[in-house]
């Protein structure tokens, strides 16, 4: 077993493409999953029976089934019924929907930690439910959910490796291809693990900074 990094030189472009794909799929899914998670959390707490029910079904279904199955369905299942989306789109949608379920739970927890008097006070000063959520409850809740959200985003980046099974061209896919061609299995996967750290460590750091910053502004 040798750790001669130069043997990977020939595959530079594969790693660059893989890194960019992982990064962009993660960023896209980060934005989408945050949007999905917020909407689902709000409707689960809306006290409108039907919306509550939809939110619960969403969370329980997507949180409790494997991401691999969801992504495989979007990549292979949808085309078989005539809806053709690219591997990248299938992967990003799968990641967003799956992570969205976890984020919804984190945000719901945050909203519920805001004292109930806040909502009562907002409503009694004439705000609608949506206005109260938008201007009073959510800004406070977001501060509380920064740490759990950070965890979800880090998981999201790592979970994006699921793109490899649908030939999504991400970092993990590049690693599979390069290792099977060079037989440099240890070297390739360790190198790729480091590339994942390049994305996840700054994310961790950023979340910690944001948490401290918000703590000071309260």
């Amino acid at each position: 077993m040798s750790f001669d990094i130069s043997s990977l030189e020939a595959y530079k472009q594969d790693f660059i493409d893989g890194f960019l794909t992982t990064l962009s799929a993660s960023l896209l899914a980060l934005v989408l999953s945050l949007a999905i998670g917020t909407v689902i959390a709000v409707i689960r707490l809306s006290r409108v029976r039907l919306l509550e029910w939809i939110g619960t079904v969403y969370v329980e279904f997507f949180r409790n089934t494997p991401l691999v199955i969801q992504v495989f369905f979007f990549a292979m299942g949808l085309p078989s019924i005539g809806i053709d989306i690219s591997e990248f789109t299938a992967g990003a949608i799968g990641l967003s929907i799956y992570t969205g379920a976890f984020i919804a739970e984190a945000i719901r927890g945050g909203i519920q930690s805001v004292p109930s008097g806040q909502m009562e006070a907002s409503r009694s000063s004439g705000m609608t439910y949506v206005q109260a959520m938008r201007f009073v409850i959510l800004p406070q809740a977001f501060k509380l959910v920064i740490p759990p959200l950070g965890n979800q985003f880090i998981n999201l980046v790592k979970n994006s490796s699921v793109l490899a099974i649908i030939a999504g061209g991400d970092l993990m896919y590049a690693a599979d291809i390069v290792s099977s061609q060079t037989f440099q299995i240890n070297l390739t996967y360790i190198f790729v693990a480091l590339l994942y750290l390049v994305i996840t460590l700054p994310l961790s750091y950023g979340v910690n900074r944001l948490e401290r910053h918000l703590a000071q502004t309260v």
């Binding site: 990549a75 292979m76 085309p79 053709d84 591997e87 099974i165 030939a167 896919y173 099977s180």
Partner: protein, 282 residues
């Protein structure tokens, strides 16, 4: 006191039982694969595949293992031992087949194995019994008729296969997508995720029969993948016996009959007996 002794006895007996079971296993195994030894044992142990449609495939409908290679092994057992029921099948994969043969767990391998120079260092091969070659599977209406039509197209394969490398060499400027296994790649082809699927035509033929009317094989062979039966290194007696068997069934028409049964066409003429795989230049 009595209970205690019984317990100790049980503890002592279990390893003995396990050991004797293991010993039975080695008795059964084909440690000595000379023709006489196989005749004396009264059964031929063949390593075959269970997942390669048309060659060795476990039919989910009835649990029976069927295919061209299975029929060849049955015929060999019939001629050697007088009864095709004296054949014992053992499932092998591409990864396990050579170790199983070298351990003496099987007498012979009939497992879509390409004769190559590297493998010849490990084991011996019979004469060629099937000439496969890398080919293309495309959707019926794709308009692709061969490698020359692939420029700018998406070609799919399995991760780690040599087929993908071969096709890159034959026709640069192809976009490649590699899947975990051929089943996934085939699903992707049917769903239009790429334009062509490439590997040995023997594997592709099985897929073609699974989706009749949807996909077709095109492009002929651009590599040669001659399949031979694998035999233990230096077991010249059994190798000669198997080669003689191949000659016999080719002469008396049994080979043609079995080939037609599985591949629905006549076998190609004049397959070189001692071919080794090679990649053809464009």
């Amino acid at each position: 006191m009595f209970m205690n002794m019984k317990r100790w006895l049980a503890i002592a007996i279990i390893p003995v039982l396990a050991f004797s079971l293991a010993a039975c296993g080695t008795d059964d195994a084909a440690k000595n694969s000379s023709v006489d030894a196989i005749k004396k044992r009264g059964k031929l142990v063949a390593g075959v595949k269970y997942d390669t449609n048309l060659f060795g495939f476990k039919d989910p409908a009835d649990g029976q293992v069927k295919g061209f290679e299975i029929d060849l092994m049955k015929e060999l057992a019939k001629r050697m031992l007088g009864d095709e029921k004296k054949l014992e099948l053992k499932e092998v994969t591409s990864k396990t087949r050579i170790p199983l043969l070298n351990n003496g767990d099987v007498d012979i391998l009939a497992a879509t194995m390409t004769i190559s120079e590297e493998r010849k260092k490990e084991i011996d091969f019979s004469h060629v019994y099937f000439m496969a070659g890398q080919s293309l599977l495309v959707k019926k209406e794709s308009g692709i008729n061969g490698v020359k039509d692939l420029k700018g197209k998406v070609v799919m394969g399995a991760k780690g296969s040599t087929s993908v490398q071969n096709i890159k060499n034959v026709e640069p400027g192809i976009k490649i997508k590699e899947y975990e296994n051929y089943a996934d790649a085939f699903t992707a082809l049917k769903n239009g995720k790429g334009d062509a699927l490439t590997t040995d035509d023997s594997i592709l033929m099985g897929m073609e029969q699974q989706a009749p009317g949807q996909v077709k094989l095109v492009g002929g062979h651009f590599t040669q993948e001659p399949y031979g039966f694998g035999l233990a290194k230096g077991n010249k007696e059994l190798t000669d016996y198997v080669n003689k068997f191949l000659e016999d069934i080719q002469k008396d028409g049994t080979y043609d009959k079995l080939y037609k049964k599985w591949f629905k066409k006549d076998p190609p003429k004049n397959i070189p007996k001692d071919a080794v795989n090679k990649v053809l230049k464009k």
